[in-house]
Symmetry: C2
Subunit: 204 residues, 2 copies
């Protein structure tokens, strides 16, 4: 079953909104309600979800706890993934302290930096580790996912090390285009992309 990536890219948003409704004690929803909350058409949502099975019933809509479980299975976040965070600057600190990971399938298992002033210091319960130990520590912990918050000039070199260490997915905050071999995934978090998308619609 080869589902188009554009559909996969929307599933986390569906899961997020369902978890939000669930936290408010709501048990069922509809593609209409989800559409309003997400700014998507209900037809789009129904079509996307129908790729994976019959999750809703005509007239009664979707049972939220069931659909959450299905989406977690599909996205493989019915387990908890370890993350290696590389770069313990302001942004690295913000991510290490971010409460939003909880219950969404991830936790920061290790933080690395090259600055001797930072190595050994704590961020919450994490201790900042020497970037020289990156590869052995990632292998030891069996980590597959990394978040990259190093300066732009260092990002490619760190990425090369991450790939050699067995990292398969990188969430990149550095404003550079990373080169990785086939089979390694990179997604960029670029606030400017989102801002530029909005300015298209904003009046002066």
């Amino acid at each position: 079953m080869d589902i188009p990536d554009i559909i996969i890219s929307r599933l986390p948003r569906y899961l997020h909104i369902l978890e939000y409704l669930s936290r408010q004690g709501i048990q069922t929803t509809s593609s209409q309600e989800m559409g309003v909350l997400l700014g998507l058409s209900s037809a789009q949502i129904r079509k996307d979800l129908s790729q994976f099975g019959e999750f809703g019933k005509q007239g009664t809509g979707y049972e939220i706890p069931f659909l959450i479980q299905q989406l977690r299975n599909i996205l493989k976040v019915n387990q908890t993934w370890k993350i290696a965070l590389v770069g313990a600057g302001d942004l690295g600190h913000a991510i290490a302290r971010y409460q939003g990971f909880e219950n969404r399938g991830f936790y920061i298992a290790a933080v690395f930096d090259k600055d001797p002033e930072k190595i050994g210091r704590s961020i919450g319960t994490l201790r900042i580790e020497d970037i020289k130990t990156l590869a052995p520590r990632i292998r030891e912990e069996g980590i597959r996912i990394a978040m990259l918050t190093v300066p732009a000039a260092e990002a490619q070199a760190v990425t090369n090390d991450l790939v050699v260490a067995g990292i398969q997915a990188i969430l990149n905050y550095a404003p550079v285009v990373l080169k990785v071999p086939t089979g390694v995934l990179v997604k960029d978090i670029d606030p400017i992309n989102s801002l530029q998308h909005m300015t298209y619609y904003v009046g002066k």
Copy 2:
């Protein structure tokens, strides 16, 4: 001319990659080269750009400086937009110090926080202002865009104030679904969405 939003959403990525190639001194590119760098098909890129005019030539491809200028015009980042940053925690500090805004159409014009310990302190050349002055300062500066890095529990109340003050676009880092009136845009920066998108493909 009503272009589908999914196409608009890809234009900032095209612009970003063109600026990246331009910084390397490259003058022309092709939809094939852009596709490889972006992980999109060349047909998709050609089709998207053709919505706005004839930017490329068969055989010679796209002239980068010209296409950059066209995309900046379309996305309205041929001007520099002021941004109000609300929340001067770790993430707010990281954003205020972020070098990536430069030359991409934005700068942080004001930073706000409610913490008396933070108000009056500096982040680079910016002074953290009292959130109580949010509305008058936004009006005074003519700011249309805000970035929101306050805790989740405070995000909706701050959003309401931003809307009243005339903000038309909000880039939201808080892990909540913001309610805004029609005509106000919100985009969420949610690292978990991006991580969950990748775990679909990652092997254990």
